[in-house]
């Protein structure tokens, strides 16, 4: 086939922003290479990080990547808000504006929210259930690198070839070849495809981990609520991600092979795409909120020094939410005109979801009620989440009233709704989780004062940015417009909204400062249990050794670590002296990284429809898999001596 794209499509000319990005990416790359070479860190990077299969390190890499993506997505957001701050501005032109809101949405959902959740899952789950690693450590590394190179592929589009511009939902016919002949939408499709395989594998990995690797004595109903939330999320991932894989495949075939799934001619049906997209998309919004729910449950319980109120109803609500999440997708396009019957069904199913969510909110409140509350940073994020989510849920229910949604749909009211639940829910939740488990990850606490600055700025910025958008929605401002006139009367509220966005940007800088400051001056965690925690991860030194538990604990009932501590205090705790045994441990491997590089090459090749390059990449992937299949020497034993040494060094005792 004659390639559709030539080298001349490669570099985008004539835009100072992109030129600036080109230059800064170039400089950053040179600097990274220089630093690594100068300090002779290449080998360290490869041995300690790029080839690791340790869930804790993989978790940390997810955190770093996600925060970088939060920065990139945040810059997109600020560019958009600058353009909209006043009428008739020309900061971004329409085409550029379209690209920015598309990459903003895609990055924030898939390359910021998802990896932050995977980060929390990786860092916490094995420690919380008393396991030495996840079920499939090697696969876990593959998941991370696929996510990473998927994200890189999408980010590359900004400087090479041009970004996608059909929205994060990529609706046809706009995303079809006819209206989008450049490589941009291919970037979108292939980046989602590559990282999606990784996400699916993560779902399978953690479901098996939670079901099969719990330590002795931990029954399902003894599991910490964060573990339960990850169980629910993993089920949703397994149920939803195959659908987005198919959706993206079909869109790609339309664009690449001239198929007619979603085109306007030859019998194609664009609505089919929209249905498929949201069959994945709605569960996806719950995939990113449920782990946040889990974190809030942990945090409220620990910082109120109480057991979670209504544990069973918490579990049941999460399972109900993940079940119903699969039956509400049509609320994203009531305006399709599927008929009163269909719309009624999906309106009611959407409203039903609000019930288990409400149950959870009351449980958190009742957990705090009469508790000895400590207002630490994780607790602050949790408390801020509750009113925020209440408003988000309420506006969600407003949107779910199908006839009314004809008015709200695709207006700024909708934009305000989902930012309220995504920022106030997912992002605040992840901040709570990050600050809560930070000492476990790195062995030091984050600075509370700077954390509070960040907290208040985020909250003020958030309300200033998004409350006006509800009103703008009512005033008729629709989403995805790149400018407006003075005559619309939208200027004052938009200006406030943009100021709010800037405040959130400043809040982010405070967090960067908070981290940088705490690396040097943060309070060191010498006990492994800085918050007086309830669950098993706090029984380990911070950071935990690579095998996590020298001896696997045996637990009875919930909040195992809290009970142990109480027993110790009462003096009726008998330490069972258990013999150390050599620990079976997976070897590091370079294959996940190399395999993902080949996926990246394949993705890049198909983006530019250079079939030879795509085929080459896929061949590389196949070779990696075959090589792995023929490897039998994949594990080793950590000797008792090594365990003794490590434990003595960490705990200061033998």
């Amino acid at each position: 086939m004659e390639p559709k794209f030539k080298i001349s499509h490669f570099f985008i000319h004539g835009d100072p922003l992109i030129l600036g990005a080109d230059v800064s990416i170039g400089i950053a790359t040179v600097m990274i290479i220089f630093v690594l070479t100068y300090f002779k860190k290449w080998k360290w990077l490869w041995k300690e990080w790029l080839t690791t299969v340790d869930h804790k390190k993989i978790g940390i890499m997810y955190v770093i990547a996600a925060l970088l993506m939060l920065f990139r997505g945040g810059v997109d957001a600020l560019l958009m808000r600058t353009q909209l701050a006043l009428p008739n501005l020309k900061v971004l032109l329409s085409e550029h504006y379209n690209e920015i809101f598309t990459t903003h949405g895609t990055i924030m959902i898939l390359f910021m929210a998802m990896p932050l959740i995977f980060a929390m899952m990786n860092i916490v789950i094995p420690l919380q259930i008393g396991a030495r690693d996840v079920a499939y450590p090697f696969l876990n590394a593959i998941s991370f690198w696929l996510f990473f190179f998927g994200a890189m592929l999408l980010n590359l589009s900004f400087v090479i070839g041009g970004s996608p511009n059909a929205g994060w939902v990529g609706y046809p016919p706009l995303s079809e070849l006819q209206f989008n002949p450049g490589p941009g939408e291919n970037f979108y499709v292939l980046a989602i495809q590559i990282s999606g395989i990784g996400s699916l594998a993560t779902g399978i990995n953690f479901l098996v981990t939670i079901l099969k690797m719990r330590t002795k004595g931990m029954r399902l109903m003894d599991m910490p609520l964060f573990t339960w939330s990850v169980l629910a999320t993993s089920i949703l991932i397994i149920a939803a991600f195959p659908v987005i894989t198919v959706t993206m495949l079909l869109l790609f075939l339309d664009r690449f092979a001239g198929a007619h799934f979603f085109t306007m001619t030859h019998g194609g049906d664009p609505m089919m795409y929209i249905n498929l997209f949201w069959i994945w998309g709605h569960p996806e919004v719950y995939i990113v909120i449920l782990p946040a729910f889990g974190i809030f449950s942990e945090v409220t319980s620990v910082f109120s020094k109480k057991v979670t109120f209504g544990y069973t109803s918490m579990v049941v609500s999460m399972m109900l939410i993940s079940f119903y999440a699969y039956f509400t997708w049509v609320h994203h396009f009531f305006t399709m005109g599927a008929g009163a019957g269909v719309n009624t069904f999906f309106a009611v199913s959407t409203m039903i979801i609000a019930i288990p969510t409400g149950v959870k909110v009351f449980n958190w409140l009742l957990t705090m009620y009469q508790g000895r509350i400590r207002l630490t940073e994780p607790m602050l994020w949790t408390i801020a989440f509750i009113p925020c989510f209440a408003i988000g849920g309420a506006t969600g229910v407003m949107l779910s009233i199908a006839p009314a949604d004809y008015q709200y749909h695709n207006s700024y009211f909708l934009i305000a709704h989902f930012h309220q639940v995504l920022i106030g829910g997912t992002v605040f939740g992840m901040f709570a989780g990050l600050t809560y488990w930070w000492p476990k990850m790195f062995g030091f606490k984050l600075n509370e004062t700077l954390g509070r600055w960040a907290f208040w700025l985020w909250n003020i910025g958030f309300y200033a940015c998004f409350m006006p958008q509800y009103a703008l929605g009512f005033m008729g401002m629709t989403r995805r417009i790149y400018t407006y006139g003075w005559d619309m009367g939208w200027a004052p509220l938009n200006l406030i909204s943009s100021i709010g966005a800037v405040i959130m940007g400043i809040a982010f800088l405070f967090q960067v400062w908070e981290i940088a400051y705490s690396v040097k001056y943060g309070e060191r965690d010498t006990t492994g249990d800085p918050w007086d925690g309830h669950t098993l991860e706090w029984s380990l030194p911070s950071p935990a050794p690579k095998y996590n538990f020298a001896v696997l604990p045996e637990v009875h009932g919930r909040d195992a670590w809290w009970k142990t501590k109480e027993a110790k205090e009462r003096g009726d705790y008998e330490e069972k002296k258990q013999e150390l045994e050599p620990i079976h441990y997976p070897k590091n491997s370079g294959i996940p990284f190399i395999l993902s590089v080949f996926f990246f090459i394949a993705g890049f090749g198909f983006t530019f429809e250079w079939v030879w390059m795509g085929a080459l990449g896929l061949l590389g992937v196949a070779i990696c898999l075959i090589v792995r299949s023929f490897q039998y020497d994949t594990d080793y034993y950590i000797s008792v001596d090594e365990i003794k040494e490590t434990e003595a060094a960490l705990r200061g005792e033998v």
Partner: protein, 201 residues
């Protein structure tokens, strides 16, 4: 070193537990693959009468060909079952024989499919002809890709078993591929019914 030897039996159990957990994961993968095919079926069913200017399913499908094709694949599922039986009995040689038979039948199936597809394309009926054909090629082709990948995998496994005989690892791998193979068979039954039988009716 001493420790390792004294704990030998434990390690063996640990290893088996490790292998069985991989089979659990594979079941979950199959669940996700069911959903993948589910989405493809749904799309095909929505588009199956969208012939546009192109041929209809009656024009295209050759009853004899797709019946033989089905028969070949079903037989391969049967022979893969026989291979599993030989594994349980501990017969490496006959296991390998049955796996080779299975792979050959699988290759024949793929051959039929390529023949069918290339016949259609040479008459000018391509993915770009109509939504119906897009759905057809994609659904049936995805299944064909699964079978082809399974073939490569099976060949790799035959080599591994020939070299190493039965170990917990090779046995686990053999159980997984037979699961996979039966699963592809089940999917084909649905393709046979929904695409071909209903198509020519």
């Amino acid at each position: 070193m001493e420790n390792i030897v004294s704990h030998h039996t434990d390690h063996h159990e640990e290893h088996e537990a490790h292998e069985s957990i991989k089979i659990d994961g594979f079941w979950l993968f199959l669940v996700s693959d069911v959903l993948l095919f589910g989405a493809l079926f749904a799309t095909f069913i929505v588009l199956r009468t969208h012939y546009a200017e192109g041929p209809t399913s009656q024009d295209l499908f050759d009853v004899k060909e797709f019946t033989i094709e089905t028969f070949v694949l079903l037989t391969s599922s049967f022979t893969s079952g026989l291979a599993t039986l030989e594994m349980n009995k501990g017969h490496v040689k006959s296991l390998i024989t049955w796996l080779i038979v299975t792979a050959l039948l699988g290759a024949t199936f793929v051959g039929f499919e390529i023949h069918e597809f290339s016949g259609m394309v040479s008459e000018g009926y391509k993915m770009s002809t109509s939504a119906f054909l897009s759905g057809f090629f994609t659904l049936v082709g995805t299944h064909g890709c699964h079978v082809s990948l399974g073939l490569i995998w099976m060949i790799g496994l035959i080599i591994q078993v020939a070299r190493r005989g039965f170990t917990p690892v090779t046995e686990r791998k053999l159980s997984i591929i037979s699961l996979y193979w039966h699963f592809l068979d089940a999917v084909w039954i649905f393709i046979f019914t929904v695409v071909y039988l209903i198509g020519v009716m």
